[in-house]
């Protein structure tokens, strides 16, 4: 029998939410009782949510996995030889790397997630961490910006704007701003607001490989001449907050952050700022106001945040995944990254399979596979075992897609053509029990709750939207209310300052267009004047 050295029990939000803490405690106790010379390491998570808590046992021939391990399973697992990596248990999954769901992915950004102890700098470096930064420290800002431009990397927060162009604007911007106490400074702001339902890739980076984000932000700072960075983190992520703060503290202690990074004479200071439960603060201008301690009102553009962003200074605002892609790009070159993907959608996208799905979790793939491959091959259909009916891609402002659209390639342009969005890569699956009229109603309701209130079509239009959909559901003047809903959607689409009001019509209209039967009187029994 191979010698066991280490046992891994994940500690990301999902694993914890399913009892990982208790699992770790029980295993730790068993190790103590047996006085075994085995380390218990809390790794992040590989992102295979459906297998969490995924316990791994490392032998000299690699890691084997057991999952999903609930606290109730632990005594049985221990009895069946967990600590000797024995295969005699129903939860035994074999070598982790050979689990097809993981093996078939193209992990670039998430290559380390779940493999290392997230806050161990030694682990991080032993697995290739800081190679990008070491290289970047010897490059000029121009070279760095050019490398990112060559990679074809587009913003992963939703709008898919080319990162290189944004960085170039900030690099060339003057930071002189007489009268502003922040004059002379540029900022890197990481958008970690991750508000879209069905998305958790940002969280996973922060909880499973936080130094990757830190490294990406330092490189961004070197590229544009910024020495200060903020991570604007949503308050719904308590574990990410704690882990980021711990990682920052350790990175500072080892001089990877702060003044004179590793004796290079370069500086980068990083601070986490917590949001306060407002979806709109994911929109970059609202985020900047919130970061400045104000109400998170959307600002008109121009001025671009790149020129006049945080505290009035030139600022790169990028999503977590955008920044987390950078170390790999700098280490391997922009061309290597652009070798993944197709058309104008280059590189990989960490998709997030969520909702009613059998094998949900993080699936990183090059752009170009189809939605169907994702939900069927990786997802394995619904958890309930019922037929899939609708897929909402790209968060709460994304369209509901019917089966006829599931062969759409996962590519920004192809999705736009289908009237849908890829956004931050969230894929939410619904089975055939879903009431699409209620989903449309919820989209409007969400807009009521989360509108910043600046424009009437968004603030008031969404309230009207809920009322109109309620009337349709109650079969009151159905035909004219459907027409009214369509007009209302037009008004919101064309009369809103930002995509909150402007894209709320996406889920609403796609529900009406692709699932018209849900809005028929027959599907809702309550009577009323037709």
């Amino acid at each position: 029998m191979a010698e066991v050295r280490t046992i891994y029990v994940p500690n990301d939000t999902t694993a914890q939410s399913l009892g990982a803490e208790d699992v770790a405690r029980q295993i730790g106790r068993a190790l103590g009782e047996q006085q075994a010379d085995i380390r218990l390491v809390r790794n992040g998570s590989r992102g295979a949510c459906w297998l969490e808590p995924l316990v791994e046992v490392e032998t000299d021939s690699g890691r084997v996995a057991y999952g999903p391990v609930s606290p109730d399973d632990v005594p049985g697992l221990l009895a069946a030889g967990l600590l000797e990596a024995r295969p005699d248990h129903a939860l035994y999954l074999g070598p982790t790397d050979e689990i097809p769901w993981l093996q078939k992915q193209q992990r670039v950004t998430f290559s380390r997630a779940g493999i290392i102890d997230p806050v161990s700098l030694d682990d991080y470096q032993a697995h290739g961490g800081f190679a990008g930064l070491e290289k970047a420290l010897a490059m000029s800002p121009r070279q760095l910006v050019d490398e990112v431009t060559a990679s074809g990397l587009r913003g992963r927060g939703g709008a898919a704007f080319p990162a290189g162009i944004k960085w170039n604007t900030v690099l060339e911007a003057s930071a002189d701003n007489p009268g502003n106490p922040q004059s002379g400074r540029k900022f890197i702001v990481c958008n970690a607001d991750e508000g879209d339902s069905g998305t958790f890739a940002d969280r996973l980076v922060m909880e499973a490989d936080p130094y990757l984000l830190i490294e990406g932000m330092i490189i961004a700072g070197l590229a544009v001449g910024a020495e200060y960075g903020f991570i604007y983190l949503r308050s719904e992520y308590p574990i990410a907050l704690q882990r980021l703060n711990e990682a920052i503290e350790r990175a500072e202690a080892e001089s990877w952050l702060g003044s004179d990074i590793r004796g290079s004479g370069k500086h980068f200071h990083l601070e986490v700022r917590l949001g306060a439960g407002a979806y709109i603060c994911g929109e970059e201008t609202s985020l900047l106001d919130s970061l400045e301690g104000k109400r998170g009102m959307v600002r008109p553009k121009p001025p671009l945040p790149a020129l006049k962003g945080a505290f009035g200074q030139p600022t790169v605002v990028n999503n977590v995944l955008t920044l987390a892609a950078v170390p790999w790009i700098v280490e391997h070159g922009g061309a290597a990254y652009a070798g993944y993907g197709q058309g104008r959608s280059l590189g990989t996208l960490p998709f997030q399979l969520a909702g009613n799905i059998r094998r949900g979790g993080l699936v990183e793939l090059a752009f170009g596979a189809t939605l169907r491959e994702l939900v069927e091959d990786f997802g394995g259909g619904t958890l309930t075992g019922r037929p899939m009916k609708a897929i909402q891609a790209g968060g709460p402002l994304g369209a509901y897609m019917p089966e006829s659209q599931w062969d759409t390639p996962l590519d920004y342009e192809a999705f736009t053509e289908a009237g849908a969005v890829l956004g931050h890569g969230g894929i939410v699956v619904f089975d055939d029990t879903v009431d699409m009229a209620q989903q449309a109603r919820f989209a409007m309701e969400f807009c009521v709750v989360e509108s910043c209130g600046k424009c009437t079509p968004c603030r008031i239009g969404s309230v009207r939207g809920v009322e109109v959909i309620d009337r349709i559901i109650d079969n009151v003047n159905r035909t004219s209310n459907l027409a009214l809903l369509d007009e209302l959607c037009d008004t919101m689409e064309y009369g809103s300052l930002c995509a909150m009001g402007g894209m709320t019509p996406n889920p609403v209209r796609s529900a009406v267009r692709h699932f018209p039967e849900a809005f028929e009187p027959s599907s809702n029994a309550s009577a009323g004047a037709a």
Binding site: S17, G195, T199, V428, F430
Partner: protein, 170 residues
Amino acid sequence: MNRAALESVIQGSVDRHRGKPGPLLVILHDLQAQWGYVPDEAVPLLAEALTLTRAEIHGVISFYHDFRTTPGGRHQVQVCRAEACQAQGGRQLEAAVREHLGIDWHDTSADGMVTLEPVYCLGNCATGPAVRIDDAILGRVTPDRMRTLLDDLQREPVNISGLMTEAPHG
């Protein structure tokens, strides 16, 4: 609220974050962590300490869902209402929680133990429905298990850190 205590907490927070640009949100989080809400009496003190107007402070407090202006229950229970959880039975869970507590969103149970808030995604979307109880996030929460959890919360003493150790398929 004891004014001297209030002043000292606010002063402590302001001092701690001195030098940080735009610290209001950071300070409000401190106050909320201390008392579970931001007392009205804090507003003029914050205005003075940060050279902002009271209206500005009020405006910020009222904008964000996180900040309360009245005391909440001993425990904050957030139930995810967003789409991925809806797809996994979240709507049924929402209904069960409201019915079991006999209160609506944003309300506090009569015994003062639980304040119920909606939340729009906890980032636990592949293993929903998701719930947050204080700082513990739970996954695959069924109505039955939730009723048990709520009953436990409403009974003292409570072991919050132990919550995450419940069997996942209760």
